[in-house]
């Protein structure tokens, strides 16, 4: 099924995430990943959601999200005009013989080691889903004790902003 990346600007208020995740579950939409954080404007958060589904599903996802009062704006980010990253922290088992091998792999992937213990390392890696999957596969031969990864975060390339893509966002709502 096709995957789509949505960049959703929402009011930075309690309960907004529950509104969005609740909407997805009750309408039967599939979330592949979801990442939330406040934006440069502190009253607004950006949620990056990866959804899977055909075009009809995507259309409904966007329209239903738009009906939420706390959703200010939705943009679909295509891989061509946006950049995206995921981040993973991977705790790898090592001993004196395998530590240098792990460090070599870390170098190749331009990842970083951010914690060292006698029998383990924590590797920080950012990149695409595919890159993270690759390093995970390579590190698994040494034994992955545990790992954590964020959902995808993404932005439009160049000077374009999400808000630019919808003029009505900038309009003041009309008086009753």
């Amino acid at each position: 099924m096709k995957k789509h990346t949505l960049s959703v600007l929402v009011e930075n208020k309690p309960g907004v995430l529950a509104r969005i995740s609740g909407l997805f579950s009750r309408r039967g939409f599939n979330i592949e990943s979801l990442a939330v954080g406040v934006t440069e404007e502190t009253s607004i958060s950006r949620i990056t959601i990866v959804v899977s589904g055909d075009d009809a599903v995507l259309e409904q996802v966007k329209k239903q999200l738009n009906k939420l009062i706390d959703v200010i704006h939705i943009a679909e980010l295509s891989p061509y005009d946006s950049v995206s990253r995921e981040l993973a922290l991977i705790k790898v088992e090592v001993d004196t013989t395998t530590r240098s091998m792990v460090m070599q792999i870390v170098d190749v992937f331009r990842a970083r080691i951010i914690d060292v213990a006698t029998d383990s390392l924590i590797v920080e890696v950012t990149g695409s889903k595919g890159k993270i999957a690759s390093i995970q596969r390579l590190l698994s031969q040494f034994g992955i004790k545990e790992m954590v990864r964020t959902g995808k975060v993404a932005l439009h390339r160049m000077s374009k902003t999400a808000a630019d893509t919808i003029p009505e966002k900038l309009q003041k709502p009309e008086e009753e």
């Binding site: 009809a56 239903q64 200010i72 309009q171 709502p173």
Partner: protein, 560 residues
């Protein structure tokens, strides 16, 4: 500590705000968390109607809203009071009814601690409200109420819940009611897209077999006049959904009644044979469309709706117009008014279907359809509410509405127990109207405690119980699809409705013969008292015609 003159409590601010919104009546039930609010209501100018169960408060506010076009308001205390509103809120959400539900909440320091009568009502109502609020600061209260009424009543209307902790209602603020709304995430569509309207007009001008499929959106948008004008301009037959009943006069020659599962044969045949369906303020509900893949197989579909999410939600659409029905129809009429309709052969065909397959029933014994027909004959201008089940379908089939806001029913959620409290709300909103709840003996028992409300508040509504001693619609399905195994649907002799009415101080009447139907109806309405009429009808009468669930709408069973 002396309070500065300008400062008022949250509870006072709430009442002031409601007065600013011109609220004339609230349906509610008091309790611990809303004591400060009820103390303010004690000498407010707003009428309070005390119900006997909070569910009825929500339904009454819904009925009030549908009868008057204004926003209905209900109030309940925290915990069980709030959860009892849930069915009523969900009912209003499915039928796009403007409602503001106010609930008490435990004081802020206790929230999250499983305090006495605490329930997370904003969490519970997330999927069944257009929006909801938990008021955490008394300073926000006036703005939130302003926003709530705006959101509830604009765009596609719906319920908005405001949860107010008890200590917020006793905190003080310097009150001013905001004049402006600033909601950057909510901009209801206003005008309709002209380009798409032109495309729609082109399709209509080429059409030889058009059908207009009109729903509740027409009534909400106050567009019945425009609908009539469009239909007469292009000479197209009009089918109105359950929620759209009253949007087009049922006695108009172009009316073809209700579509779908228990719709008229001629409405369903017309849709299936049409070359264009003009859908306005409808949502292609499964009870209308039957099997989606076979719905209107030869037709182009024009869909006009104010909610963009309804477009292509269920069905392919050839031309979509997002906007207010009234505005869209007005512009559409302008684009097609020079046309020369070529629909005469089409209307001839439809009239033949009407003659060949009329709505009918065998007139032996006391038939529920006859009761509905009699109500319609005696009180054609009455506001009718219905319960849910066979009573609802017979009311829809045999009560011929001529005006919007006179047929009030739980369409989307199908809530048994809706009709009686909705009738109370309608009568409070339109006191001069004759208000009759067409009920079943099953549904009525779900909220019969509201007899106390009608008597105490002197709200003279008539409940016409079509008493067959069964949960009739379920029984009908068991008869047809479950080998007549009447599991848990037999409720005969469970209650003496005449005595029940009398126990509450209402009028109770019983009818067992057809010739007594009309005199008894006259007695009930003439009494100007809350009244139950217990019509002992033929027990196994079925609602006909019927399209089985999941079948195409021209695969119709005849059950007469």
């Amino acid at each position: 500590m002396k309070r500065p003159m300008a400062e008022i409590t949250g509870a006072e601010a709430l009442i002031e705000s409601l007065e600013n919104e011109n609220v004339e009546v609230i349906f509610g039930y008091p309790g611990g968390s809303v004591l400060p609010i009820y103390d303010e209501l004690y000498d407010a100018d707003i009428r309070h109607v005390l119900v006997r169960h909070e569910q009825a408060a929500a339904h009454a506010a819904d009925g009030y809203a549908q009868a008057t076009g204004r926003t209905g308001v209900c109030i309940a205390t925290s915990g069980p009071g709030a959860t009892n509103l849930v069915t009523g809120i969900a009912t209003a959400y499915m039928d796009s009814v403007p409602l503001v539900a106010i609930t008490g909440q435990v004081p802020r320091p206790l929230i999250g601690g499983d305090a006495f009568q605490e329930a997370d009502i904003t969490g519970i109502t997330l999927p069944i409200t257009k929006h909801n609020y938990l008021v955490k600061d008394v300073e926000d209260l006036p703005r939130i109420i302003k926003e709530a009424f705006y959101i509830a009543s604009t765009g596609r209307p719906g319920p908005v819940l405001i949860d107010i902790p008890k200590d917020v209602t006793t905190d003080t603020l310097d009150f001013t009611y905001p004049q402006k709304i600033n909601l950057r995430g909510y901009i209801p569509p206003k005008s309709a897209d002209v380009k798409h309207l032109r495309e729609a007009a082109q399709l209509i001008l080429k059409s030889e077999r058009p059908v207009i499929y009109a729903g509740g959106g027409i009534i909400i948008s106050d567009a019945a006049g425009e609908l009539l004008s469009l239909a007469e301009t292009i000479m197209a037959p009009v089918t109105t959904t359950l929620m759209g009943k009253g949007a087009f006069p049922d006695n108009h020659p172009l009316s073809i009644g209700m579509p779908g599962m228990h719709g008229t044969k001629y409405a369903n045949y017309a849709i299936q044979e049409s070359d264009i369906v003009i859908a306005v303020g409808v949502r292609f509900d499964d009870r209308v469309t039957g099997k989606l893949e076979s719905f209107a197989p030869n037709a182009k579909i024009i869909h006009i709706d104010i909610d963009p999410a309804e477009i292509r939600k269920n069905i392919r659409v050839d031309v979509s117009i997002v906007g207010d029905a009234k505005t869209a129809l007005l512009r559409l009429i302008g684009l097609v008014k020079e046309s020369q309709p070529r629909t005469d052969p089409w209307l001839d065909r439809i009239n033949k279907w009407k003659q060949e397959f009329p709505l009918q029933y065998k007139k032996d014994g006391l038939k529920p359809q006859y009761v509905v027909e009699s109500i319609c004959e005696l009180y054609p201008d009455a506001i009718i509410t219905t319960e849910v089940g066979q009573n609802q379908m017979w009311a829809a089939q045999y009560f011929r509405c001529t005006r919007p806001r006179t047929f009030i029913s739980s369409g989307g959620l199908g809530t048994m127990g809706y009709g009686f409290p909705a009738a109370i709300g309608a009568k409070v909103g339109v006191p001069d109207a004759t208000v009759i709840d067409i009920a079943g003996d099953g549904s009525f028992q779900m909220n019969s405690q509201e007899l106390a409300t009608t008597v105490q508040n002197n709200v003279p509504v008539v409940v016409a119980i079509l008493n067959n001693g069964y949960l009739g619609m379920v029984r009908q399905w068991q008869e047809l699809f479950f080998e007549q195994r009447y599991s848990a649907t037999i409720i005969e002799d469970s209650v003496d409705f005449v005595k029940l009415a009398e126990a509450y101080g209402a009028l109770g009447l019983r009818v067992e013969r057809p010739e007594d139907v009309k005199p008894t109806l006259k007695e009930a309405v003439g009494s100007c008292k809350p009244c139950i009429i217990d019509f002992i009808v033929e027990r196994t009468e079925n609602v006909s015609p019927m399209v089985p669930a999941g079948a195409a709408i021209n695969e119709i069973l005849n059950l007469e």
